[in-house]
């Protein structure tokens, strides 16, 4: 039986551990943080499984790697919502919506009636939208916790608060930004987000508002709670949200619906995403150590495909590029 030590219990590490365990490896997971929570940058993820939308600002590889993510997650964790994602723009930015459409595929154009039927909360507010029917979202915190639960049920030990890596034939390093000590090309890209509660506005799917300066997305978490994200700033600072970022996020969501002006700010979160210079994920092999890193803004979208590739290498069926 192949033994594997996975370092890092964020979305990359837990996904790798799950795939390896499913394929019969003896897996253990260690993470230096005290537990599943705000020390992992996956904690702050949007949880959008939206490969076609991402193409607007990402390489084609992101679509190819992310297409199977919704199926992967739906088979393993509760709460995967498959209602598509809706992309809208204020009337004065309708040119930006056309540009978004030119850069992406696998969507339908909706008119005002179409939008109102799909999301009654937005009734009358927008004239045109793109609906990416095959896209989905999940709640990252629920999903990670479910993965830990199923790993433990399968006999995989997930140990927090330690950096001691158990002896194993393979080590899969999923430390994210902390792996800069071995992957000098990694950099941090700061993201800031808010959780807001607004029971007055009932959205059923992920909504992206296009704006030339402040594009935002809103992912429903249920009970009127939404994750509102996210900034993308070229620095690796992890723990400070600026007033400017908050003002921009909130004024953009207010443009989506004025009722959000009454929303309760439930949580403020910020962390740095690990990224390589091309903003694409990488498998890096160094003997019997395998790095899975650089998931950037696409943790939950790309982790499944990367985990399968990592497992293929461990089981001798694949090669690292």
């Amino acid at each position: 039986m192949t033994s594997v030590a996975v370092i890092g219990a964020g979305v990359a590490g837990l996904t790798v551990a799950s795939v390896l365990a499913e394929r019969g490896a003896a897996v253990s997971v260690v993470d230096r943080s005290p537990g599943l929570g705000p020390d992992q940058c996956s904690w702050y993820a949007g949880g959008m499984l939206a490969p076609w939308c991402e193409r607007e600002n990402a390489e084609a590889e992101v679509v190819a790697l992310g297409m199977g993510a919704a199926d992967f997650w739906a088979a393993r964790v509760p709460g995967v919502v498959r209602r598509g994602s809706l992309v809208i723009a204020p009337a004065r930015d309708s040119g930006e919506l056309r540009r978004f459409a030119r850069r992406t595929e696998n969507y339908d154009w909706l008119d005002r009636e179409g939008i109102d039927e799909l999301e009654p909360a937005l009734e009358g507010r927008f004239q045109r939208a793109l609906l990416f029917r095959e896209e989905a979202h999940l709640d990252p915190r629920r999903a990670l916790s479910a993965l830990v639960g199923s790993l433990e049920a399968a006999g995989v030990e997930v140990r927090y608060g330690t950096e001691a890596v158990p002896d194993a034939e393979w080590t899969v390093d999923c430390r994210g930004l902390a792996a800069m000590d071995r992957l000098p090309e990694l950099r941090g890209v700061k993201g800031e987000m808010l959780y807001i509660r607004s029971p007055e506005v009932a959205l059923r799917r992920t909504v992206r508002l296009i704006h030339p300066r402040i594009p935002i997305y809103l992912v429903p978490r249920g009970d009127g709670v939404y994750m509102l994200g996210a900034t993308t700033i070229e620095n690796d600072e992890r723990r400070r949200i600026t007033a400017r970022s908050m003002v921009e996020l909130l004024s953009a969501v207010y443009a989506l619906h004025p009722a959000f002006g009454e929303a309760e700010v439930v949580e403020i979160g910020t962390d740095a995403r690990p990224a390589f210079p091309d903003n694409l994920p990488r498998l890096v092999r160094d003997g019997r150590r395998l790095h899975v890193n650089g998931l950037y803004r696409h943790g939950f979208l790309l982790a499944p495909a990367m985990a399968v590739r990592a497992a293929d290498i461990v089981f001798g069926e694949g090669t690292a590029p």
Partner: protein, 258 residues
């Protein structure tokens, strides 16, 4: 024509924001042939040096960095940002932006002149982002600027040269000052038009960064800037109202009954 003693081989200056990734940015800069790139410094990241990773990438491209004070709304903010940029990028060059209005990102020309004076006095080489106003331009030169960068159109709008009259007047008024059209350029034809007006360079960002294929668009801009510059140097014809046959009529065969 030189910019504070530096004579770039390319007259295309490129901004570094909004690219899909640093790798794409690198490709675009290489394809553009640009030797001068602007980098904006978020004030919050300066002190902690938190943007180090990105700045290292820019430095590794081997281009000259023109830090900018993008997003600054006051003289003090702009001066502080410039000082931070000097320390981080080890250059006394600064593209000076003092924004006066958020929807148009129009420069606050009063604050601009004031900040230009303060910075020039403390040894900065200032590249001011200004309007087409000749009096403001004059004041900027008095404040110590040796380069002027009038806008083509509002930042990020891609509208091209909104006021050709003002740009032409500025060129005529300041024949010996290096002039750069900064902001508003959306298409290579806009850049070519600026160069045909006799501008010394163009500075743009969004038109390349937000193109579907940034490297290809960067190459297109490089060609346009070359073309516009060559046309200017070749002394173009004057436009006329009436047609003038391009084929002479003397010696034309006479057809008919004769």
């Amino acid at each position: 024509m030189d910019f504070y003693g530096f004579e770039p081989s390319s007259r295309l200056f490129l901004g570094t924001a909004q690219y899909p990734s640093p790798a794409v940015l690198g490709e675009a800069i290489r394809a553009s042939g640009a030797e001068v790139v602007t980098v904006s410094l978020r004030r919050e990241s300066g002190a902690a040096r938190a943007g180090q990773g990105f700045w290292e990438l820019i430095r590794s491209l081997g281009v000259r960095v023109l830090p900018n004070t993008a997003g600054c709304h006051s003289v003090r903010e702009a001066v502080t940002t410039a000082e931070m940029a000097r320390e981080v990028f080890e250059t006394d060059w600064i593209k000076l932006e003092v924004i006066g209005e958020d929807d148009t990102l129009q420069p606050d020309v009063f604050g601009l002149v004031e900040a230009a004076r303060i910075l020039s006095e403390s040894g900065f080489r200032v590249f001011p982002y200004t309007t087409g106003d000749l009096v403001v331009a004059e004041r900027l030169l008095q404040a110590g600027c040796e380069v002027l960068m009038p806008w083509g159109a509002p930042i990020g709008s891609g509208r091209g040269l909104n006021n050709v009259f003002a740009l032409r007047a500025m060129r005529a008024h300041f024949p010996d000052v290096p002039l750069v059209v900064d902001a508003g350029i959306g298409l290579p034809s806009h850049a070519a038009a600026a160069m045909e007006l006799g501008y010394d360079a163009v500075l743009l960002n969004t038109a390349v960064a937000k193109a579907g294929d940034p490297a290809r668009m960067a190459a297109a801009f490089a060609q346009a800037v070359e073309a516009g510059r060559a046309a200017r140097e070749a002394d173009p014809m004057e436009p006329r109202d009436m047609a003038r046959p391009s084929t002479p009529v003397i010696g034309r065969a006479v057809l008919g009954d004769a």
